[in-house]
């Protein structure tokens, strides 16, 4: 049964809580017991059948795709995986909906630290309105009621279910990975002004406030229900950060205002047009010598020689409304980053890592290793 992690988080009832627990367990089962069967099943059944008919192996992911989408075994896992995501949100939305009025009333008690700037006239980019990312009903930006925070609250409770409780008490493992990277590789770097782009509920923003207590940390996002929740959540946790409703493709901050600009899992939720603009904006915002660090799920510019692996990596694209994540992998990020003005010798595509433990009945270690894309603005 889940415990409240901070005073803004809505508390599930007994049944809501065990309903959410079921989804956590279902997802663990689907990964450990069913998804793990797919590669051996492919190698034992699907590939040999194909070789027998064609006298060669399937050569790319689209050939694998046409085989798999006609296979009952693969499609059954795929369906269950998609359903588990829907069940996660349905079971969490019950809790948020039931507590929504109380949470909104409680917002006023969670305003004293940091700040929240709202731009009601901001246009939400089409890549966020065309479909609901991750199948979160209503997306991150929609407002169902005045001063809505439901999208933020739904995200906050869903993430531990999604990650089998591996993201840490404050859902901050991704930012911890970036911080560890800075500690290991940019040892003397002590940022004073920090921006977290696409900050959502601020779970990857607050770790920077805590790590660099003398710095000013700003989280920017277009999604107001998430930002309201982020500000209240930061207050509930007693951590100072400033949140601002803006599009990170072009923000209102002065040039050369930041030492560090980060994002976690932002780029693959944007678009072909938006990515270069975001990188250019990072360049504009950074002071000379400042660093840009983006953490994302997919390695850029890497062609797999394993067509099955290549196909399976696209699962989220087809089945979980991650429409841009496949296309992002084909973009020439090095060129985009260098064209924005970053010093080519500092552009690096590497990994950020963080160790965690599963909790709540799950044992063992969880080791997070995700791609990071970083570059330094030249010193004058």
């Amino acid at each position: 049964m889940s415990k409240q992690k901070h005073s803004m988080q809505p508390k599930p009832s007994h049944d809501e809580s065990v309903r959410q627990d079921f989804v956590t367990d279902l997802r663990a089962y689907l990964t450990d017991e069913i998804y793990s069967l797919i590669t051996p099943y492919y190698e034992k059944k699907i590939e040999p059948d194909f070789i027998q008919a064609n006298e060669r192996k399937p050569e790319d992911k689209s050939e694998v795709k046409s085989l798999m989408l006609n296979d009952r075994g693969y499609q059954s896992w795929s369906l269950l995986q998609r359903l588990s995501q829907q069940m996660m949100f349905t079971s969490v939305i019950d809790t948020v909906e039931r507590n929504l009025d109380t949470m909104i009333d409680d917002l006023d008690n969670h305003q004293s630290i940091g700040s929240l700037d709202i731009d009601e006239s901001l246009d939400i980019p089409r890549y966020l309105t065309a479909y609901d990312i991750h199948q979160q009903p209503g997306g991150y930006h929609n407002e169902n009621i005045e001063k809505d925070i439901s999208a933020g609250a739904v995200y906050d409770i869903s993430l531990p279910i999604y990650s089998r409780n591996a993201m840490g008490e404050e859902n901050d493992l991704l930012a911890q990975a970036i911080i560890r990277y800075i500690d290991d590789h940019l040892k003397t770097f002590q940022p004073q002004e920090i921006m977290d782009m696409g900050c959502g509920i601020g779970n990857s923003t607050l770790p920077f406030s805590k790590k660099y207590p003398d710095s000013k940390v700003i989280g920017v996002d277009v999604a107001l229900p998430c930002l309201r929740y982020a500000h209240a959540r930061a207050n509930a946790l007693g951590v100072e950060a400033h949140f601002s409703q803006q599009n990170v493709e072009k923000t209102s901050y002065d040039p050369e205002s930041f030492d560090l600009v980060t994002s976690t899992l932002l780029l693959h939720e944007t678009s072909h047009d938006a990515v270069p603009k975001i990188i250019q904006e990072c360049f504009r915002l950074l002071k000379p010598g400042g660093w840009m660090i983006h953490l994302d799920v997919y390695p850029f510019h890497k062609k797999e020689d394993d067509p099955l692996y290549d196909f399976l990596k696209d699962w989220e694209v087809i089945n979980n409304n991650e429409n841009f994540s496949g296309a992002l992998r084909n973009m020439n990020m090095r060129k985009i980053i260098e064209d924005a003005g970053f010093s080519s010798e500092t552009v690096e595509f590497t990994s950020a890592e963080a160790a965690a433990k599963y909790s709540k009945g799950y044992t063992g270690d969880f080791y997070l290793k995700l791609p990071v894309y970083l570059a330094q603005k030249p010193n004058n």
């Binding site: 007994h14 929609n142 169902n144």
Partner: protein, 96 residues
């Protein structure tokens, strides 16, 4: 209570079909939701039994002899309605 905000429960986006014509997909969704609800019930009963045992309040025989009041019958009727609402959501989605 009628004024209470209803949050959306269906995501906007493509709806791929997995097995046959999609009706099997709905059936699978219903079965998984039922499985979830069985799990919820088992956990709730487990909580109840543990608490009663801890407090030495109710014996198994008293459970077996229990007759619900009219009010309780109404509450149970509402609860079963909610259950059906949850289980039949895939079909509703199909018709929306």
């Amino acid at each position: 209570m009628n004024e209470k905000t209803k949050l959306p429960r269906v995501a906007k986006g493509k709806k791929p079909k997995y097995l046959d014509d999609g009706s099997i997909d709905n059936l699978m969704a219903m079965i998984m939701t039922l499985t979830q609800e069985i799990s919820v019930l088992r956990d709730r009963i487990d909580t109840l039994e543990r608490m009663l045992e801890e407090k030495e309040i109710i014996s198994t025989k008293e459970f077996d002899d229990f007759v619900p009041s009219d009010d309780l019958e109404m509450m149970r009727k509402d609860r079963r309605h909610e259950l059906l609402e949850r289980v039949l959501l895939p079909i509703k989605k199909e018709l929306e």
